[in-house]
Each structure stands twice: as structure tokens, then as C-alpha cells.
């Protein structure tokens, strides 16, 4: 659909590509349960500590996750978690209202039309309209300016839905360009589609686990994002990677001791299990890194019964350590 790349792309080939947090808009996605929300929260924390003004968004969450992870007050709309870091749960209805007001200009008209119960049916029935307004709200934030002319946010981070739904969301502007011959929605779809494929401003970060199916899904997602959507992939996070203190040979010797009475048996079994698991995870990790052409960051398996601000601190620390070792970023 885009016959020529956006102008900034050609510039970027002259300089090193921007690192993840230098982008203005980052969508974090991956298989359900891989840890998208926690990675998004940790990235938001890191970026805001680096002095950036950050907006961390989630999309119509059944239960809000980012706000409690980042110590932001519960509620609706934009909320400050700490100086320079805001959270927002983008809900279709509020986004629709905002968009409707923008297009129709008058509050009274909006109320007559959009708050009408019948009209609610339409808005739900017109395919992709709610995805469009949700994505539109996020992209609008990412390009909004302060009165002085500087961008309102240095970085907008999106805790996007899981793989399939995220692709559906990101595909909406180009799908609408295919179906709508004209009108304001088409004009909005045009700028949105351009913004998504701008590799300097916008990128996707993929979160996965070092297991076979999540890695398969990450590889397919990477191909879709790059090939079909034409978006940049700026980072791969391999989450919850187990480690082992024993070499594979030692683990084999230890398996023979697993049947010994306690305390030796259970300890030997734990060490052997850890080694097997680490070895298997290592294979999947290597597979993901080989197949996905984005800088990879390896995050450790953290035993936790619940995620809250202290666990996000620990995860942010692990990401920063990985980047200091020269991984990812």
C-alpha cells in the first residue's frame, strides 16, 4: 500500500537505528501469559527514570493492570504514577466519545447522535470502528504537542492485547483504507497508517517465554508485524528464563541420586530439574533469537505469588542489567 517509504525512514539509514526507548511509540505484545503488562510497566519505569515523559497505555483491560503495578491511583482517564509517568486505560466508549466530538464539533450534536441507544448499535456494528478509535486515541496522544510546540510525551508505551488481537488492532487503519472510499474516518486512517510504519517513531516489542509454543507464536508474530504490517520490531523480551547451577553432565549424575532419601534425593531432583529446564529453555531462547531479527533481552524467572510495584522494580532492574551487559535495548 505504501509505494514509497515515509521520508524519515530514508534518513534513518544514515544513522544507527534508534534503540527501543528512543522511539516515540512502542507497542508491547506477545502470547497471552507471557508477561506483556509487567514488561510494559518495567519499561515505563526505566524510561521515566531516564528523564523521559512517559505515557503507559493499556487497551480496554477487563481489570486494570498497569496502574496498580506502577502505583498510580485507581480510576479512569489519565493518572500520574510518579513525576513524568502517566497511565491511561484506553476504553472504546470514552475514545469514541472523544473522536465523535472531534468530528462532529458540537457537544449537543454528539449527545443527540452518539448517546442515543440505537446509535450504540451502529457503532458496535460498523466493523473495526471501536478498534479504530482506540488506536486513534493512542496515536493521537503520541503525536500531540504542548502549547510551546514540543511533543507532549517523549514515549508512549502500549500494553497491547495478545498476538491475534494486537494484529487485528494494528491492521485496522490499512483495512479501513481498503473499504472506505472517503470521509473523515478514511482521512484519519491515512495518517494513522503512516505513523505505524514510520520505523523511527514507532516500533513493536515482542514478549515471549522460552517455551516451544510461545516461541512459535513470537516468530509468526514477528513475520506478520514486519511483512504484513510493515512495522519495525525494536526488541524481543524472553521472559521468565530459568537458570541452573549445574552443567548437563552434573545434572545427569544427579538424576541418579533423585531417588535417595531426603534431604539428598529432593535436592538432587531439584538441581536436575532446574538443569533440564534451563537446557530446554536455552534451546528455545536460541531459536527465538535466531529467527527474530530484533535485539533480545533475557529476563530471569522470578518466583512471585503476585505482581506489584516491588516485583516491577526487580524486573526493571533485570532489564537494565541485561542492557548493561550489552543485550537488547
Amino acid at each position: 500500500m505504501w509505494t514509497c517509504p515515509p521520508p524519515l525512514a530514508s534518513l534513518s539509514s544514515l544513522v544507527a537505528p534508534p534503540t527501543l526507548l528512543d522511539r516515540h511509540l512502542v507497542f508491547v505484545t506477545g502470547k497471552g501469559g507471557a508477561g506483556k503488562s509487567t514488561v510494559t510497566a518495567a519499561l515505563a519505569l526505566l524510561a521515566s527514570r531516564a528523564g523521559k515523559r512517559v505515557l503507559a497505555c493499556e487497551v480496554n483491560a477487563p481489570q486494570e493492570r498497569l496502574a496498580p503495578l506502577l502505583r498510580a491511583p485507581a480510576g479512569e482517564g489519565l493518572r500520574e504514577a510518579r513525576p513524568g509517568l502517566h497511565v491511561l486505560d484506553v476504553r472504546p466508549r470514552a475514545a469514541m466519545r472523544e473522536y465523535g466530538l472531534k468530528v462532529l464539533r458540537f457537544q449537543a450534536v454528539y449527545h443527540a447522535v452518539f448517546e442515543n441507544r440505537l446509535m450504540q448499535y451502529f457503532l458496535r456494528a460498523i466493523p473495526s470502528l471501536s478498534e479504530l478509535v482506540v488506536l486513534g486515541k493512542i496515536l493521537h496522544e503520541a503525536r500531540s504537542l504542548e502549547p510551546g510546540g514540543r511533543p507532549r510525551w517523549d514515549l508512549v508505551l502500549v500494553d497491547a492485547p495478545a498476538t491475534g488481537h494486537a494484529l487485528q488492532l494494528l491492521r485496522v487503519p490499512s483495512a479501513l483504507l481498503d473499504t472506505l472510499p472517503g470521509g473523515p474516518v478514511r482521512r484519519d486512517a491515512e495518517w494513522m497508517a503512516r505513523m505505524l510504519v514510520d520505523p523511527v517513531r514507532t516500533a513493536v516489542a515482542i514478549v515471549t517465554l522460552p517455551e516451544e509454543l510461545p516461541v512459535n507464536e513470537a516468530i509468526e508474530l514477528d513475520a506478520e508485524v514486519g511483512g504484513v504490517l510493515g512495522m519495525a520490531r525494536a526488541a524481543l523480551f524472553v521472559n521468565a528464563v530459568p537458570t541452573s547451577r549445574s552443567s548437563p553432565e552434573e545434572a545427569r549424575a544427579l538424576s541418579a541420586l533423585a531417588a535417595a532419601p531426603p534431604p539428598l534425593g529432593p535436592a538432587a531432583r531439584a538441581a536436575a530439574l532446574a538443569a533440564t529446564r534451563a537446557e530446554r529453555a536455552g534451546r528455545q531462547l536460541a531459536r527465538a533469537c535466531d529467527a527474530i531479527d530484533a535485539p533480545a533481552t533475557v529476563l530471569p524467572l522470578l518466583p512471585t505469588a503476585g505482581w506489584g510495584p516491588p516485583e516491577i522494580e526487580a524486573l526493571a532492574g533485570a532489564i537494565a542489567e541485561g542492557w548493561a551487559r550489552g543485550e537488547g535495548g
Partner: protein, 382 residues
């Protein structure tokens, strides 16, 4: 037989629900396999399964075809079930088309709908469309086939139990007379409609057209008009699906892992099912880390491991590895392992407290679970 096995033994329909990433599809397949191993004729109906699992079940494409997992393939995995295992992948678009074909009063109307641009998009992409069609297909399978057990793997939905709401939501829209009247100016229906539209909806429709463009609105109007008269058939069908789910021969199986996020979602699912008075067949907690220290004494330190290690007279590590260092590593490995066990246990505590149904605790399998042998191990653990 486990409590969950007993609870499922009397049912013909099992609907697996759970958060993303908990192994729901594998478990759905394992439940069907377990019934086949017990001599029954079982079908697992999945939506967009991972390729490996699809291959394991011999599924190559969408298309709503129920295909039997060949005996030879099962034999390769060391399985010789006395019953039969079938699998199918739901094709959402095809299920919609079948519905339209069944309910359309005449070929002209049928073709007008199938050709409508908005219908084509809606059938593929409308939110809730997958869920609606999964329910629709389930009804057809339960009514028209002779399976002893049908296991439905629900789509990984972001919102708790969308599939309970989606049929009603979509049908409310399709059947809304008022909606047709409101759109009348866009399509030019009969005189009465037009007059009503001028009174109330004309302005709204014009405002809406500003939003979407006139063409999209005309498509919508045409679609709704064609749909007129078919609504009752659809509505009766959706009511029948709901009734089927509420019958005691059907049951929901909650699938979770011990991750805090999955536990929270499972609690939400459970609350919703209770509120809707849906029968709950059981709970599966998947991928548990095995408890290696179920003893009252504290975890051993390196000093306590050293004597038995010496006694075992093993070289342990390679040359140059001192036995004391090995004892340190073993103590640390056990402590780390048990930290995971205890974290999982406290994450699960609120769920096990709240959800009082037959429950299966499935340990994390160290081998592959995405082939038939893996599914068999899973089935045995159920």
C-alpha cells in the same frame, strides 16, 4: 478415576475457558483423548490452535471438517484407544455463511447478503463474531452428531466470557427494527420508514455518514434490510445454544495456571459463570511445579547434604568439582525450586478457596505436550 474425570463422565459437552497462555487448547484435546481412551467417541473443536498441536491431531486446514485422528498416528504415540478421537478447527466465516444459507428465505436474498461488503467484514472481523460462531457450531454438533463428548476450546478472549454475551449482542443489533428505520434515509425503504426517519433518525444518519462515509452506511442499511425476516430463526437458535449450555449434560471446565494474572482472570470467569447459573464441571490447574519438600522440617543447608553426598560416593560433578561446592549448589537449587512451589501455592490459595468444584492439579510436564504422547500424559494426569 479423578474427581474431575467423574464429573465429566456424565457430560456430553465440555467448554474449556481460561486466560491466554495456560495451555487451554492442549487440555481441551487431552480431555477428548481421555474420553476416547475410556472407550467413547469424542471430538475436540478448537479455534486457531498452535500449528504443532494441529499437526499432532492431523488437522491441516480450517473448514469445519471433523476429522478422525488416525489409529496409526495414535499407535505411533503408543496409544490404542478403544474409542475414537475426532478433531476440528472452527472456520468462523464458513459458519456464518452456513447460517445465512440455512435461514435465507430465497436465493436472491441469500446472495445479496453473502455479497454485501459489510457482511463480509462482519463475518470475519466483528468483535464477538468468533465467540458467536463457536456457540453456533457447538449447538449443531451437539444436536446433529452422536459424539459421547464434545470439548470446545474457547477463543482466547480478552473479556471474561464474551461468548455468553456475543450472540445476544449481535442479534440485538441485527434484529433491531429501530435500527432499520434509523438507516432508512441511507437506503430508501418504504414510505412509513422514510417518514419516521425524517422525524427522528434522518439527522442522526446524516451525522453518522459524516463519520463513516455514505457508502458504508448504505452497505449497512442494505444488509439490515436483507436480514429482515431471518431474525426470528437466528434468535431461536441463539436461545437454544444458551439452553444447551445450561443443561446438566453440559459443563464448563475452568483452566488456569498458577500465575497470578491467570488466577485473577479465572476468578473473574468463575464469578461470571455463577452469576449466569452455568453448570461448572471442574477446575484444572495446569503446569504446577512439583512440591519436593513436603516435610515439616526446614529446607536442608549444604552441611546437611554433605554427609549423604559423601556416602553416595558419587563423583557428582566433573573432575575438580569439590563435594562441598556441590552441596552448596544442591541446597540452593532446592531452595529456589521450593520458592517457586510456595509462590504458586499462595497465588492459587484464593482460587481454591473460592472455587469448590472437582479439581485436577496437573504438574508441569517436562517433555513436549504438543504431540499425541504429550497429550496422553496430560490425559493421564487428569
Amino acid at each position: 478415576m479423578s474427581a474431575l474425570g467423574q464429573s465429566l463422565a456424565g457430560r456430553r459437552v465440555a467448554v474449556c475457558v481460561g486466560a491466554g497462555g495456560v495451555g487451554k487448547t492442549s487440555l481441551a484435546a487431552a480431555l477428548a483423548l481421555a474420553r476416547a481412551l475410556a472407550g467413547g467417541k469424542a471430538l475436540v473443536c478448537t479455534i486457531d490452535p498452535a500449528r504443532r498441536l494441529a499437526n499432532a491431531l492431523g488437522l491441516t486446514a480450517l473448514g469445519n471438517a471433523e476429522s478422525r485422528v488416525p489409529a496409526a498416528r495414535l499407535a505411533q504415540a503408543g496409544l490404542a484407544p478403544p474409542g475414537q478421537l475426532f478433531a476440528m478447527m472452527l472456520d468462523v466465516k464458513r459458519t456464518w455463511d452456513d447460517l445465512i444459507v440455512r435461514h435465507a428465505p430465497d436465493p436472491a436474498r441469500r446472495d445479496r447478503i453473502l455479497r454485501n461488503r459489510l457482511y463480509q467484514q462482519m463475518s470475519a472481523a466483528l468483535a464477538g463474531s468468533q465467540e458467536y460462531m463457536a456457540m453456533e457450531k457447538l449447538h449443531e454438533l451437539a444436536e446433529d452428531r452422536d459424539y459421547d463428548l464434545i470439548v470446545l476450546d474457547t477463543p482466547p478472549t480478552a473479556h471474561a466470557l464474551d461468548f455468553l454475551d456475543a450472540p445476544t449482542r449481535i442479534l440485538d443489533f441485527l434484529g433491531s427494527d429501530a435500527a432499520r428505520v434509523l438507516l432508512a434515509p441511507a437506503v430508501g425503504v418504504g414510505r412509513l420508514g422514510l417518514r419516521l426517519a425524517q422525524l427522528s433518525g434522518g439527522y442522526a444518519a446524516r451525522a453518522l455518514a459524516r463519520f463513516t462515509g455514505q457508502q458504508a452506511l448504505s452497505d449497512l442499511g442494505e444488509f439490515l434490510q436483507s436480514f429482515q425476516g431471518m431474525y426470528d430463526g437466528f434468535k431461536a437458535r441463539a436461545a437454544a445454544v444458551r439452553a444447551l449450555l445450561a443443561r446438566p449434560e453440559a459443563g464448563f471446565v475452568l483452566v488456569t495456571s498458577s500465575s497470578p494474572a491467570a488466577v485473577a482472570e479465572t476468578l473473574a470467569f468463575h464469578g461470571r459463570l455463577r452469576a449466569e447459573a452455568m453448570p461448572l464441571a471442574g477446575l484444572v490447574v495446569n503446569r504446577l511445579t512439583p512440591d519436593l519438600w513436603p516435610y515439616p522440617s526446614p529446607l536442608p543447608g549444604a552441611a546437611e547434604l554433605l554427609p549423604p553426598l559423601a556416602q553416595a560416593a558419587t563423583s557428582g560433578g566433573g573432575p575438580g568439582t569439590s563435594r562441598a561446592a556441590l552441596a552448596e549448589r544442591l541446597a540452593a537449587a532446592l531452595a529456589e525450586h521450593q520458592a517457586l512451589v510456595w509462590a504458586e501455592r499462595s497465588a492459587l490459595a484464593p482460587l481454591l478457596e473460592e472455587v469448590r468444584v472437582p479439581c485436577a492439579m496437573v504438574p508441569r510436564l517436562e517433555g513436549e505436550v504438543h504431540d499425541l504422547a504429550g497429550l496422553a500424559t496430560l490425559a493421564a494426569a487428569l
